[in-house]
Symmetry: C2
Subunit: 538 residues, 2 copies
């Protein structure tokens, strides 16, 4: 039997621990792993050729299932193409199990084809790495699911010949291996807050959770400002347009909290980060079950509260608390300015985002927002996502797999899955559409301003003569041709009339995925955005 | 001055040491590096958005210049997208200087955007890694050019604000920093071979070199078999169709050398590798100026000859030597079989490769052959490349950047630069065309068999029921739509008539790059190839 010993047992042990999806990248060396996965019968398998896209597709699946997803590739540079997704998963704390097929150890450094140094390929960016050893217990599921969740890597040396002969079946699975029991971290229990101090709660990236949101809403109703970007998936009661409230520089001293608590992961709004770094609260907590080190994005951390969000929220809701009142009272002013502004009808990305959020926000839709301008726009619009869950690759904030992540997340659901994405991020990751899993529930909205719009609005950057050629990706590709290849319906809009005509057919149910490409002028976009932000500054 | 101290001095020191090309990936954090490169005036700068493609583009440039090329990107996952090209450069021994912009060290692990662990990002796959320190000498050029040549990495922490203010010029370059002197390794000098033993010379991947080729030709004319794949760029005198000669299994014992010398880097032909592993010569030398470890692809190494190829060849040409005679006498038989076969006119990739090699081989063309089936076909055809230099990413044998490497290599030359590439490798790396450097001298020939043809010919693999869905990339994309996006002329051929009509217009001079996509049937390809190989086996 040419088939590697113990491989079916490895795969079965993962399945016994709850893993049931695998993204397989075609190759020869990893064929035995592929066979074990496909013939096991307990795995939903996906075949995706570009490993970079496949890794993010797997990330998208894991985001939806909260279980580790296997991503598997052949030997050589294939595994390196997984790295962007692995690192995003590491910082976004999403479980992934990376299985890389390898030459047997004695062939490393011998100039054999597709042979690189695969052990510890991902360095510090996995929670755990090990080599496959037949019939040995492994720690893949345990380590990927332990807080902080994240990617783990197993390198699997496989000797030739590795195909079973014609008609030969795979080896029987031996008796089940002893499974590791996941250890529960010891959690903190005392979350008492001084009732006399003014409190501000920030919420970083977090998945939607109804039980937690009910408690966040209670806190907001008690007058505690709870602020978070769209990626925080907070309830409507908490939506304060914080990035606009904080634009009013003269008011900043009045927003200063004495006490600050942060839930969730990374925060988008630079304004809030800079505010807390300057107006440091006396005490600042980070709530996390088990962070790596002491992440301190606000540079004011005084305590890591090692606990689950829900436990801290339950305690807070029972305490007497006092919020930073100036924040709440700024809300009406901001909303009045927004209302006046969005009565205008200038064709600019800001106004289009505002319009589209209104169109697509629904309980039956979820939204994947790409880096880096898209995720910022939805912090600024008057309309907000109150029903759709919002996802974004904010672990590393890369543009390298935004669309692939959305396509992965769109599997096995009837929800409409939207990707809001700029033209550069779309073209970068258009191999997301180079597979057979782009289902009819996918809706891609591309904001095409012919290049990286974000740099035109960064102070300093926008005045550099080199901006055009070397900082901004000036690109002329349109999505139409990619849509043709991938068999997607394509819609385009260059003005409000076209958008009004296209939006309903674009949103309507269909048997094919759809792309809506919206063309705008970068200069107008930047002018409008600057004018809009200026309204809030004084 | 917001501009980072010492950065213009770093860039100038690289220029003083001969570096004069840089591939810059748009971003914000790396803007100061971009400014130093662009405003220096001594660098040809290229702007490429997809870092994966940009890395290979840089590799293509370095292959042509034999000087280190800078590839530069912003912080976060951007640098990880360089990894496939960096690792290919490491194993193909091509100098690259990777400059990654980074957050200042105190922001690592603080959940700030686009912040990952960038130090030692490439692990063992760079020859040297260091962090930028202002006004300190660096070892980038020295280490990348020392044998074995390869990639080096400098991580450049940059604090905000990092744009010079409007109208502000960059700092003056301070007095030149002391440059490191490259150390010459001590070379072996005794290359005497026993005149009574039968000798076989194998040549792995190597760049074309006329002086060496004259000596290889002398050895061949003396009756010493010198065998190498197309990537060895050997002279016509050495072209023996070794993979076909060695297909004759009954003859293998007669091919056994008593003495074996290997020049160059990795070898494609698996048949030759397996032959030498079985019929081990008494002595086997690897000639390399300074290899990492003792690479032993043939598993029979007895001595590493630390020397340059030319020195060993000069010595060999002056010695009395005896070749493995059975190899030379098999040549005529192989050529007769080839001649008879290629009189047939079946529309299959094998016959098309044979035809096209005849059409495109010219002193004024160079050929980039993709992994993994393309590079094998050109070992099997009757026609060979005798004038065109042949390149291929055989360091890691990945498909991830074959086209980007060709586009990089096509800069600054009037030669026609061909990419021979399968449909999967083309689609995987189609972002190679997503830039403004695809010049009129580029000719891309895509062999579209709707998926990974190579697996259909691997014994074992071809009988697996899972072959279709999970091992082979079954893909339906055509290059036509990508050509539309990128503004390339597109030709297609489905049979000999169409190919005959298209080939001259395709080859003709033009002001635009051109794609010729050739559609074949995978089953016919595999049947023909198997029938052809069988002709040589008995």
């Amino acid at each position: 039997m040419a088939y590697p010993e113990g491989l079916v047992d490895l795969i079965d042990s993962l399945h016994q621990q709850g893993v049931n999806e695998a993204v397989i990248c075609p190759g020869s060396r990893n064929a035995p792993i592929m066979l074990a996965l496909v013939r096991h019968g307990g795995f939903q398998c996906y075949s995706i050729a570009d490993e970079r896209s496949a890794g993010f597709f797997g990330l998208g699946r894991a985001l939806k299932t909260n279980k580790p997803v296997i991503i598997c590739c052949t030997s050589g540079s294939a595994g390196l193409n997984f790295a962007p997704a692995v690192v995003e998963a590491f910082f976004q704390e999403v479980p992934l199990i990376v299985l890389t097929a390898d030459r047997p150890a004695e062939w490393i450094g011998q100039w054999d084809g597709q042979t690189i140094y695969q052990e510890n390929l991902f360095g510090k960016h996995v929670k755990h790495a090990e080599s496959f050893k037949p019939f040995q217990p492994n720690q893949l599921v345990e380590k990927s699911m332990a807080f902080p969740q994240g990617p783990v890597h197993m390198n699997v040396p496989i000797a030739e010949p590795f195909y079973p002969t014609l008609g030969e079946t795979l080896p029987q699975i031996r008796e089940p291996q002893a499974l590791n029991v996941q250890q529960t971290p010891k959690f903190d229990t005392n979350f008492d807050v001084d009732p006399d101090v003014s409190l501000l709660i920030t919420v970083g990236q977090r998945q939607f959770n109804q039980a937690e949101n009910d408690l966040f809403a209670q806190l907001a109703q008690k007058g505690i400002p709870v602020i978070g970007d769209a990626t925080a998936n907070l309830p409507v009661e908490c939506q304060l347009h914080h990035d606009l409230i904080w634009a009013h520089e003269a008011n900043l001293p009045t927003y200063k909290p004495e006490f600050h608590i942060h839930f969730g992961k990374s925060f988008v709004s630079k304004r809030i980060k800079q505010f807390l770094r300057t107006y440091k609260p006396t005490a600042s907590w980070l709530v996390h079950p088990n962070p790596i080190g002491k992440p301190d994005p606000f540079q004011c951390l005084t305590r890591v509260v090692q606990a689950e969000t829900i436990a801290v929220l339950e305690s807070l809701c029972q305490q007497t608390l006092r919020g930073v009142s100036a924040v709440n009272s700024a809300k009406n002013r901001v909303e009045a300015i927004q209302e006046a502004y969005f009565n205008k009808t200038i064709w600019s990305e800001l106004a289009i985002y505002n319009r589209l959020i209104g169109d697509i926000d629904a309980a039956n839709s979820e939204v994947h927002v790409a880096n880096s301008l898209a995720i910022r726009y939805i912090n600024w619009t008057a309309n907000t996502f109150t029903q759709s869950e919002v996802f974004s690759n904010r672990g590393t904030s890369g543009i390298d797999g935004c669309l692939s992540t959305a396509i992965g997340a769109s599997q096995q659901t009837n929800k409409l899955v939207f990707s809001l994405i700029g033209d550069v991020a779309f073209q970068y990751d258009r191999n997301a559409l180079w597979n057979s899993y782009v289902g009819p529930n996918v809706r891609i909205i591309i904001f095409n301003n012919a290049g990286g719009g974000i740099f035109g609005i960064l102070d300093g950057a926008k005045d550099l003569p080199e901006l055009g050629e070397f900082m901004v990706t000036q690109q002329t590709f349109r999505a139409k041709n990619t849509a043709l290849d991938a068999g997607l319906d394509y819609f385009e809009a260059h003005n409000w009339n076209e958008l009004n005509q296209q939006i309903q057919p674009f949103l309507a149910p269909s048997d094919r995925a759809k792309i809506l490409e919206i063309f705008t002028d970068s200069t107008t976009n930047n002018q409008e955005l600057q004018a809009y932000m200026n309204l809030f500054k004084q």
